[in-house]
Structures are given as C-alpha cells and as structure tokens.
Amino acid sequence: MDHRTATPDNPWLALRTLTPARIALGRAGTSLPTGAQLDFQFAHAQARDAVHLPFDHAGLTAQLTERGRDSLVVHSAASDRDQYLQRPDLGRRLNEDSIAALRQHAEANPGGVDLAIVVADGLSALAVHRHTLPFLTRFEEQAAADGWTSAPVVLVEQGRVAVADEVGELLGARMTVMLIGERPGLSSPDSLGLYFTYAPRVGLTDAYRNCISNVRLEGLSYGMAAHRLLYLMREACRRQLSGVNLKDEAEVHSLDSDTPASQKGNFLLGKE
C-alpha cells in the first residue's frame, strides 16, 4: 500500500516495460487511482488543444521567408473550426478568394511547375508548426539533385488532404506534396502526415495518393520520411502515376527481413 495515496501497489508493474499501453495502473477501490486519472486527462487535453490551436500561417511565412522561400496563404471553403470538423467536403476545396489568388499567380508565372508543396493545419496545427521547417530543410537537401522547379509553398487554413489537388491543378503542378497535421492521438498530439500526388486534379480519391504517416520526434524521423517520399516521387516521375499502384511496388522494395513479430515467444506462454 502506498501510504500517501491509499492505492494498492500493482504487483505486475514489471509488465510496463513490454508495451506503451496504460497497463498496471493500480486501483482505488475498483476505479482508476488519482495519478493515472489525471495523467489521462492531461493527455486528452493536449490532444484537444492541438485540434483547436489556430494555424499560425504568419509565423510560418516568416520562417519560410528567412529561408528564402516564397509562400502564399489561402483558405479552404470551411469558414471556421466547427464547420471544418463537420463538413469534410468544404475542407477539401478552396474558397473563392483563394481560387482567384492562385489563378492570378499561375497567370503571372505561366508554364507550370514540377512541384507544389502545400501545408495545411488539418487536425493539428501543432504538428505543422513544429515539423514543417525542419522537414522541408531535410527534404530539399535530399531533392537538390533532382532539379525540380517549385511553386511558392502554399499554406492552407482549415484544409484537408484533398485540397492539395485543387492547389496543384490551379498552379499547373506536375506533383503535389501535402504536409498536414494528423488526428492527434492521446500520446501524439503533433504527428505530421505527408501525402503525395502525381498529376493532381480536383476529384481524385485517396487511391491516387501515397501517404507517409507519423512524422514526429517519437515516430518517423525527418530524414527517413524525406527518403521514402523521394523514392515515391522518383518512381512516380518514371511511371507517371501515384497511389495504390505505385505503393504496392514501393512496399515490395522496402520489405526487409519481415518475420512476423508474433512468432517470437512471450512470457504468458513461457519457453517451450
């Protein structure tokens, strides 16, 4: 018994080393002890705050300018967070002013570009605040040799993944890469998702995209994410497609010694 908290000690605490799951929490009566209860509430609060954190596009624009990159700020057709959460269809399209702005940019810069990088708040502005600059730095280092022409980085407020299709189409881009905040998990409020589309145009389904998920300090590293993205992009340029067909082949190439983990033993079944 822990005398400060009146909670029974947990005799299987040692299992904690085997999984990040919230096991061996102990109990107060049959309920969660105070510490575990408040830990959970804090994790949920962080995830909620990430969902509702406003997109600091001015801050991001300043950072990009410092690195010598132009950017354009646009807005989806979802007017605010409440509408964004309930109307995914609106988050996938640009509003009228944004369409006009991108059209104007394309007319002033005719001929299209190889690549449009699109950054959207998605479900976690925290993720794009934290990871956009460091990821783009690694990505552009690795992509320097490819010599692709780029549009200004387009920052979309209240954007969903598919809004990159409209951006790419308006800018005449051969490829789009979308950086977007993923739905926060209880222990991952700042997870960044990358979506790649070849020949973007309005109306494409997810089958035409490739996704690289869970880019964050505790997840997939910037370098590894950039490496995988560039693999996809180079393959896409060669085969002139993206999405399901491309993905299958990419996965075959990345199959390392993939023994299913569950064929190894575990303590409940002992050493037979």
Binding site: P11, A14, T19, A21, R27, H44, K264, N266, F267
Partner: protein, 464 residues
C-alpha cells in the same frame, strides 16, 4: 412512392417519400446534415416525427427505401420477413408500435417472438420517435443470448472484449495487456485483437498465440483477430485454430462492396467457422462491427439517413446468427456524430434497434480527439447502456488504444459498471475468476483475491 403531408395548426409540412420522412424525423446529427438529408429546422423535424408516427407498419413492406432490384440487403430483408411473427403488431402504426413496446404486453417472450417480424426500417422508425428513456426501457426487456465457449447476454450479466492492441503486434506487449485485463476480470466476451499488420502470416501467428493462452490458462473465452473475412477463411484453410470470424458490415450492398464483401462471402466465412466445431456450448461464431456513418462515408447511402442505414446492417448480422455485434459508435468522427450528445443517443439507438431485431448487441463506447466528447460522456453512455442491458463493451488498458488512436472503455470502467449496477461477467467466466482467485462478486461488490493467481505469478516470474 408515397408522399406524406402533415399539418400542425396552420403549418403544412410535405415529405417526398418514406425515406424523406425517416431522414427528417431523425434526431439531429452531423452525418445527416453532411448528406443533405436532415430536417432544415427543429419544427420540420418534429413534424416529420408526427408524420412518421401515423404511418402504418404495413407500409414498410410496400415501400422499400432502397430498391429491391438494386440492393441485396433490401432483398434479404424482404425475403426473410416473417409475416406470422409480424401478425401481433401488423395493425399498428409506428406510433402505435411505440406504445405497444412500452406496454406490459411487450415482455421478454413476446419481444423475442416479434423480432423476425420486424424489418430494420420499422425498428429505425420507431426509435426516431422514442426518447432516451424509451430506448432503455424497451431494450432492457429484451435478452439475446448466444453461446460459443461462454454464454453472452443473460440478464444481470455484462461481458467485456479484452482488446490488447499493440502498434506493432509485438507478442510480449499484447500478452502484457491481456494479463492486465484478465487480472481486472475482463475478457469473457473475447480476447479480440485489431492487428497492425494484415499479412496472413502475422494473422495466423496471432491466432496461434491466443489459442495457446486460452488453452494454457483454461480460460472460458473465445479468441478473435479482426481481419477481413477472406483472410479468416484462408487461416482456417491453413488449419489455424480460429474461434470467431470477424467482419465489418454495413446496411447497403454498395457499402458492403466497399468493405470487399457481400452476403455470399459472409456465408462462406460462417460455414468455414462452423466447420471447425470449436464452440463447446454453442456455435454462434460470427463477430460483426458496424457504426452509423459507414454507408455515407462509402458514398453508398442512397439518400437514406445514417441511423436507418445502420439498422439495416443488423439485418445482415442476424442472418448469420452472430455471437456478438458491436456498434463502434464514436470511432468514425465528428462529421457523422459531432459531440457527446449525438454519440450517446446513437449508441442507445443502435443497442435498442439491434436488440429489437434479435441481435446480440454490444457497443464500443468511444470517441476520437477531434470529437466534442470526453470521458464524462463515455461514463454517461456506459451507465445508460448498462441499465439498458447491453451484452458487452470493450475493455482496454486505461481507455487508451495505442494502435487505433482512440479512446474506449477501460478495464476499470467495466468494474465501475459491475459495482454500480450489480452486473456480473458471463457465468463460465465468473466461475473461472473465482477459481483462479482473481475476484468474486456478491451483491454487486467486487472482492479481489489477496494474491496473484499462482499460474500468472509463475509467468511474471519469468520476466524477473
């Protein structure tokens, strides 16, 4: 197609079809607004409920919401409708059915007899004119009992699916969560893993592991790895021990096609499961998951509201005599169920409609971090479903699913429901808990054993 007119005072409301009345009568939820089928204001919604209350039940047998020719789920509903079972309520309107369900005439026996006489659309319709307390009161009268290695759904019982998910299917990590759950008395409905990797080799390895654990510790439960039904069939063909055959299902043929299934494929899965004869008490072995919004998200809803689509999935489920059906109510996100209020109502509707149709309903009482919901909302829904007599809920470590990234009920939450509502696990599992010394339950009070069960103490000693 009939059109309906309803007048309240000087206000005249018109509805194009049965489908239109049903959709507009649905209590407000984001998915119906997203689909563009919801009532445009509260007045129109209640007028639609009034119009719906006046529609004779027999009308539902003549106006299909989704055409018979176009949809195999509609064909299943119509072709298996039991006119004799329907007879006791065939003279009633939807409103009359509500009154009848609340009356003394509707008891456990008469409701069991009625189930095959009701279509999902009738069940959905009556739920739309019922308040939360009505949904609970009627559901509480009904019992849907199923058996495999344990018995589910008896009165005074609440079972749990132990859900030991792990982000990389690490066996030791899964085992750690399993032991945690068992020591908190969870897992009588099943030990059911959502695999992170969907390759046939990993699925088979997980099935072998669950079977070995259940045998080693002689646990009266059943195992399930939630993979596509065709993968389960393949595992069975390879001679892997498999208890429950899982599949996500929806209420329209097109939405099911989006899941890569149809009724024939489900039948094949069911027969493959039966061929193993692994149930000791019974052969209910299908495990289905559903959820409002799945048809709309597959763009396969035919203009039908999401709650009615969901209820049609129960017609698919009951055709295969399932062991359990789970409505994963808050998983799909706020574009379908926006907040705690909508999630709570939807969970109770699904449970009521499923039970009314004779389906062994459980509920994944859950939410995602972008929904306007929190633990208090889940406590509320858990309490209400416990009162309503739900067959099973999920049990996971600390409410935090680290693989699927959402929050559902914890091992502790199940213990809360046991204590406050006096609900025991299934009888076979209750006896196992007492035998191993994990806990006993009297007058609702849960009494944990003084020491760890010797078999588990031994397993833990291996870690030292």
């Amino acid at each position: 197609m009939a059109s309906f007119v309803h007048t309240v005072g000087h206000l005249v409301y018109r509805f194009d079809s049965l489908k239109d009345v049903m959709a507009k009568a649905s209590p407000a939820r984001s998915g119906d607004f997203l689909a563009g089928v919801a009532a445009s204001n509260d007045g129109e919604r209640v007028a639609a409920q009034m119009a719906l209350a006046n529609i004779p039940l027999t009308h539902f047998l003549n106006e299909a919401l989704i055409p018979y020719e176009a949809d195999e789920v509609t064909r299943l509903i119509i072709d298996t409708h039991d006119a004799q079972a329907f007879a006791p309520v065939s003279h009633l309107t939807v409103g009359g059915l509500r009154d009848w369900l609340l009356s003394e005439e509707a008891d456990e026996d008469s409701l069991r007899a009625l189930a095959p006489g009701l279509t999902p659309e009738m069940a959905a319709a009556v739920s739309k004119i019922m308040r939360v307390q009505d949904l609970i009161l009627v559901a509480q009268k009904i019992r849907v009992v199923t058996r495999f290695r344990g018995t589910m759904g008896l009165r005074g019982r609440l079972s749990t699916r132990l859900q030991p998910n792990h982000p990389t299917d690490e066996p030791a990590g899964i085992a750690a969560s399993i032991l945690d759950g068992l020591l908190y008395g969870n897992g009588d409905a099943m030990i059911g893993i959502n695999p992170a990797t969907d390759s046939i080799a990993s699925i088979c390895a997980l099935l072998e592991m669950l079977d070995a654990i259940i045998q080693r510790y002689d646990i009266p439960t059943q195992a399930c790895v939630l993979t596509h039904v065709t993968t389960s069939i393949e595992a069975i063909n390879r001679g892997v021990p498999l208890d429950l055959v899982f599949q996500s299902i929806a209420g329209t043929e097109a939405a099911n096609a989006g899941f890569g299934i149809n009724l024939n494929v489900l039948q094949e899965g069911y027969e493959a499961g039966l061929s193993l004869k692994r149930g000791t008490l019974g052969q209910n072995l299908m495990y289905f998951e559903t959820g409002q919004g799945s048809a709309l998200s597959a763009n396969a809803h035919h203009g039908v509201d999401q709650q009615t689509c969901e209820t049609r999935a129960y017609a698919v489920a009951r055709h295969f005599k399932p062991f359990l059906v789970n409505t994963v109510v808050g998983f799909i996100g706020p574009e379908y169920l926006y907040n705690g209020k909508q999630i709570i109502r939807a969970g109770l509707e699904d449970h009521f409609c499923g039970k009314l149709l004779g389906v062994p309903m459980g509920c994944d009482i859950c939410y995602t971090n972008h929904a306007e919901a929190d633990q208090d909302d889940m406590d509320t829904l858990l309490t209400l479903l416990g009162v309503a007599g739900i067959n099973f809920i999920m049990g996971i470590p600390g409410s935090d699913d680290i693989m699927l990234n959402y929050q559902t009920t914890s091992f502790h939450d199940a213990l809360y429901a046991r204590q406050t509502l006096g609900l025991k696990p299934g009888p076979e599992f209750e006896a196992w808990l007492a035998r191993t010394g994990i806990f006993t339950q009297a007058d609702g009070r849960v009494r944990f054993g003084e020491n760890l069960p010797p078999a588990f103490r031994q397993a833990l000693a291996q870690l030292a």
